[in-house]
């Protein structure tokens, strides 16, 4: 069975480590915050200038001056700091974030990522995504493996304008967890109940399949 958004978030949460500074993109990545393991402390960085993003506020706590990068009202946890956008992107560009999670339209075997622009359709802008992929060492892309029509999104070469070049090494889709190395996707894990055959069929880019591909394990809540 293809993973749900929640299950994808749970799998990504396994990549957290105690003491990590983490930037979570809009969409599925945001859900990862709900699955940080018990006893593990992580600081969430929000590109609009908040380090230590907390939970959503209660009705009483809502404050128009406290929002996240997705423009949602949030709170700041104990130990948070707030700063300007230049400071925020200095942190990001300067490689100080330990883990970055973001979505994509396409990823290819060279580690290129396209996530911001569909010519003729969605041209709203790139926001902070280009800085995030250029500045981070440890990036996990979350995405559906194929479109609703079954078109692969894991390609030999991205067809859409790029967000970043040669910067992606780890991809988590609704079907699999893969790594990118030397011009190929490497299948590391498959979603429970999903066959290797299905993953191969839906991966247009070169795919290396090890002899044994384990099923994914999920973070304990």
């Amino acid at each position: 069975m293809a993973l749900s958004r929640e299950q994808m978030a749970q799998r990504v949460a396994r990549e957290m480590q105690d003491g990590y500074y983490v930037n979570l993109g809009i969409g599925i990545p945001t859900l990862v915050a709900n699955y940080i393991p018990e006893g593990m402390e992580v600081m969430l960085q929000s590109e609009n200038g908040l380090l230590g993003m907390g939970a959503f506020p209660t009705e009483a706590e809502v404050d128009a001056d406290m929002i996240n990068a997705g423009k949602q009202t949030v709170t700041a946890r104990i130990g948070a700091s707030i700063f300007s956008s230049a400071e925020s992107f200095a942190m990001i560009r300067g490689g100080h974030i330990d883990l970055t999670v973001l979505g994509a339209f396409e990823v290819d075997v060279q580690g290129n990522i396209a996530s911001w622009m569909i010519p003729g359709k969605l041209v709203k802008g790139m926001g902070g995504a280009m800085d995030l992929v250029a500045g981070a060492e440890n990036i996990i892309v979350t995405m559906t493996h194929a479109s609703k029509d079954g078109e692969s999104k894991l390609l030999p070469r991205c067809s859409l304008p790029l967000t970043g070049a040669g910067c992606i090494k780890r991809v988590l889709t609704d079907l699999a967890y893969l790594e990118i190395q030397d011009g190929a996707f490497i299948l590391k894990e498959r979603a429970p109940g999903v066959s290797v055959e299905e993953i191969v069929a839906k991966t247009a880019g070169k795919l290396i399949v090890p002899d044994h591909v384990p099923e994914m394990q999920f973070a304990a809540q």
Binding site: T58, D65, T73, K124, G127, G135
Partner: protein
């Protein structure tokens, strides 16, 4: 205004000298920390043909979006637009030009502009459409784009509190681009919720030193929320 007293008595006075065709740098992220009343004053004055530099362009009917209604904006330099239908319309019809700029690059362009740095190198955008027409140089085996800094004829900024010297502090995430915009305007106008007594602001806790600020005015703010999100 006299000596170091930056206070002006009206929004009209605050934007005195803003003319057609000028470049205005505006603070704000989404609708958070936007100079609402200064924007409204630009609309009221009917100044046109503006180049606006800001992370976003407001929403239909609020924020910078109101300047689209009478087609006062010719060009926008932003990282994320299109939260308004009117913007999309004017973009498709060619009435407005947009230069999409990565958010971090935009922030650094403003910061560098105010800091006397004409250009800087960043890895952001290498290999993407952002790199078109830009010089590329290699440092330590990695490619970087040369990006030029930005300054404006005017900078419009939203602060929380200021003293009459123009020292400004910002509140929570309403800070965002405001301190950067404040440095990059030839004339910087800051609107705040409160103008406090001299000496009340701790010198070590000032976000924007008064040297960058030309005019300050006190106002009241709607502070619209774009996505009210609560937990039970």
């Amino acid at each position: 205004m006299a000596g170091f007293d930056k206070r002006v008595s009206s929004y009209e006075e605050a934007l005195d000298g803003l003319k057609d065709g000028m470049t205005v740098i505006a603070g704000g992220f989404g609708l958070c920390g936007i100079p609402e009343n200064l924007i409204a004053e630009i609309k009221r004055k009917g100044i046109r043909d503006l180049t606006v530099v800001s992370n976003n362009c407001g929403v239909d009917g609020f924020g910078l979006g109101v300047l689209l209604e009478d087609r006062q904006i010719r060009k926008v330099i932003a990282s994320y637009v299109g939260e308004n239908a009117l913007f999309e319309q004017q973009l498709l019809s060619g009435e407005i030009e947009v230069q999409l700029t990565p958010q971090g690059t935009l922030a650094e362009k403003m910061r560098a502009g105010g800091a006397g740095i004409p250009a800087f190198f960043t890895a952001t955008g290498v290999g993407t459409p952002v790199a078109e027409g830009k010089e590329v140089r290699e440092f330590h085996g990695r490619q970087y784009l040369m990006e030029e800094s930005i300054t404006g004829d005017f900078a419009i900024v939203k602060g929380w509190k200021a003293d009459h010297f123009g020292n400004v502090v910002y509140r929570h995430t309403a800070q965002n681009f405001n301190p950067l915009a404040a440095t990059a305007g030839k004339i910087t106008v800051v609107e705040v919720e409160e103008i406090v007594e001299p000496g009340e602001l701790d010198p070590t806790q000032i976000h924007t030193p008064g040297i960058y600020v030309d005019r300050i005015i006190c106002g009241t703010f709607e502070k619209r929320i774009e996505q009210r999100t609560v937990r039970k």
